[in-house]
Symmetry: C2
Subunit: 433 residues, 2 copies
């Protein structure tokens, strides 16, 4: 089985390493010799430095996807421009494709899976979600007996590293981000990670597999962590919660909700204790209950572990068929059906609110009356004692479970009070039971 590698950057280099160093191990598991036979990279010199003289390197990826020496094309250049054209053409050429490109699958999955199907080849993407964790396999196969109720994951290592540092070392967001960049856990332009876009790509893919719905990236609600205040991490802890950038997909009878935002999670949940750049995905099946999958969500070798797992799957299947036995998105293509996607205002949640108010007598009565008028309970409330004369007290509270448009009305009314001094901070809570 001959592999053509497009792109030998971080993950491409890792994939080369796994296929080379574990060649014997993989042969013992498959009975098949899986070898890199061709490499395409813009930087031919650098690529040659990595793979030596035994494997030819070309600068034009089109040459690779046309080559008879290649059975499986591994696309690791990323993005949705050239990568898309190459993957599509490779499939049309009758090559299997393995990719780690989450944006590509989240934005063009439908078209590309159809191309794979029509050409009797496979488009595999385990590495696109949660790096080395075999979560796509768990969802499509391991938990296939279940109706999936929800999926909730810490699936962006950059933001989890930043949140961990903010909590454990009391850093501000800006300082934690800078530290993450220095240590290689965040990119020079970290926007996609910190604003939740990367996590949104991944949860879009998982939601489709979990619920049998078309991939629909546009429907995802996304809120990043760049506005998160260290104070709220501390207060959440006082209430028994940790704040994580959680990607959530839930299915009800006729509707689904897909969202990414900073979320308060009970600290005793295993997933609340996933720290640093690690990833974890919690899946609730109607029969198995909650299951959790944890591991490295990024990095050269962990991501390559998933890329090569896909290659092995294809190699093992190729003994009897080129076509995948498992539908690309877990459901038979003719059974993938749209469900109503809830707007964030319609979603039910408990809420954490932090208020900055002038300390006048009767203040708490005013606030609690507003909640009572809207028939929303307050499950916890802390009124911080003022330490210095010129300081306004912090009030933070946890609401009962309501739809977001309901809490928005409460917020509006409190912000209209004369005592109100600042915008109210609103964060969502997930019990994950």
């Amino acid at each position: 089985m001959n592999v053509g590698l497009i792109g030998v950057g971080t993950v491409g280099g890792g994939t080369y390493k796994v296929l080379t160093e574990n060649f014997q191990e993989i042969f013992h598991k498959t009975g098949i010799e899986i070898k890199v036979t061709l490499v395409a990279d813009k930087n031919v010199a650098l690529a040659k430095q990595l793979v030596g003289t035994s494997i030819p390197v070309v600068s034009d990826a089109l040459e690779l996807i046309d080559s008879k020496e290649v059975d499986i094309v591994v696309e690791l250049i990323g993005g949705t421009g050239i990568a898309k054209d190459l993957v599509k053409q490779a499939l049309l050429n009758g090559k299997h494709v393995v990719t780690a490109n989450k944006a590509l699958i989240a934005l063009h999955g439908k078209e590309l899976f159809a191309a794979a199907e029509n050409n009797n080849v496979q488009l595999a993407y385990e590495a696109a979600v949660a790096g080395g964790i075999p979560i796509i396999k768990a969802l499509r196969e391991g938990l296939a007996a279940n109706k999936i109720e929800w999926v909730a994951g810490i699936i962006n290592g950059t933001t989890n590293y930043i949140l961990t540092e903010m909590k454990e070392n009391n850093l501000s967001f800006d300082v934690a981000l800078k530290q993450a960049q220095e240590l290689g856990f965040a990119e020079a332009d970290p926007t996609f990670d910190i604003e939740g876009v990367d996590a949104a790509h991944k949860i879009t893919i998982m939601a489709s597999i979990a619920f049998g719905i078309p991939i629909n990236f546009d429907g995802v609600f996304v809120e990043g962590i760049s506005n998160l205040n260290q104070k709220d991490i501390t207060y959440a802890e006082e209430l028994g919660y940790r704040i994580k950038l959680l990607a959530i997909a839930k299915s009800e009878q006729d509707s689904v909700e897909i969202r990414v935002h900073p979320t308060l999670i009970p600290e005793k949940r295993l997933v609340a204790n996933v720290s640093g750049p690690m990833n974890a995905v919690l899946v609730k099946g109607n029969m198995v209950g909650p299951t959790l999958y944890y591991g490295a969500g990024a990095g050269a070798e962990p991501t390559a572990s998933a890329v090569v797992a896909d290659i092995i799957d294809i190699a093992r299947q190729s003994k009897i068929s080129t076509k995948s036995l498992i539908p690309s998105l877990g459901f038979m293509p003719n059974q993938i059906k749209n469900k109503k996607l809830l707007a964030i205002e319609e979603v039910w949640s408990e809420f954490y609110l932090r208020l900055t108010m002038e300390n006048k007598s009767g203040l708490l009565a005013k606030i609690t009356n507003i909640f009572a008028n809207h028939k929303i309970s307050i499950d916890a409330l802390v009124h911080k004692e003022v330490q210095e004369d010129n300081q306004d007290p912090d009030i933070f509270l946890v609401s009962s479970k309501v739809q977001e448009h309901q809490i928005n009305k409460v917020i509006k009314e409190i912000e209209a009070l004369p005592e109100n001094k600042d915008k109210i901070i609103k964060l969502r809570i997930e019990e994950l039971k």
Copy 2:
């Protein structure tokens, strides 16, 4: 695809429920109608109560495995007597077999996998290890690109429930066991669980898949939790550890070690926080690093989730082949090779020791000298202040990493001291890094 169920007890009933209630969901994922067409159970009346009148029930399982109405035989009666004969005969009859029977695979796997291979059918056993957690699939497929360095799991719910209660509610082993029995987390005869035999069956299977070695139950070192003292749970906590019944399989260059025993784990490890009857398996791959899989390790529906996942795998594959694409134990049968199995005395570990000694001056000097003479460091030591006059002080300590025969010599010398009042308690520590 027609399923014949042998045994409709807890897991059998769960399997019937999953196949019935999730019939549509499974059809949407496979395009195949998977139905129970025949049931065999000694208690025909009770079985009929469960499955109603639409499905025939027979008392003789031989009738089921001979039936032309059955493509997949699901064996859920357990044990290694009749179950073995039935599974073997079903395979010889050209039926696929799905089982949750860990003892059967651990003791007779070799013979049964060969029978499956020779008859071009599959023998699937995901449910035999860690209930609903798809760990067999993760090891054989999801992590196939890796050389597995070690596997460490909490894979017995009964003992984890007991240890959780001992720790959190300060119960003795006997009280916690009784409570577990009352709540259905432990059987009337709990020996197999509390003495570690059940966990040993499961780690035997995982070790074989992880390292490509023959299944060899006899080589496993097993120590249960029935002699565990509540005191050691408390002291371990003071040192920053939790005590879990851990099943461990490690591979070195030319040797392997497989063992089950109460183990001190650093409390900050995710796996140390797996509580109650839940299971978790930590797997270290040479490329992916550590990954963890968590979920319900027992119970009707969770275990059935794994049974039905196997049925779905077989059904999906059956579109093109009856034979499994994945070797039964992950490695090609001709690549499964014996490795030297280390005796427990040869295994390297850090140790926790608890000493009961008469409090005389110079006592600590004597103890530490014995360690120094054997060139073993003490990484932590606590000498508890005596609270009452007639009490001897507790001393507990953590050794550096040594082979067990070395620490045994130290223990022998300390126990020979005139101050020694009781047998020294020895527990093993795993850092799981």
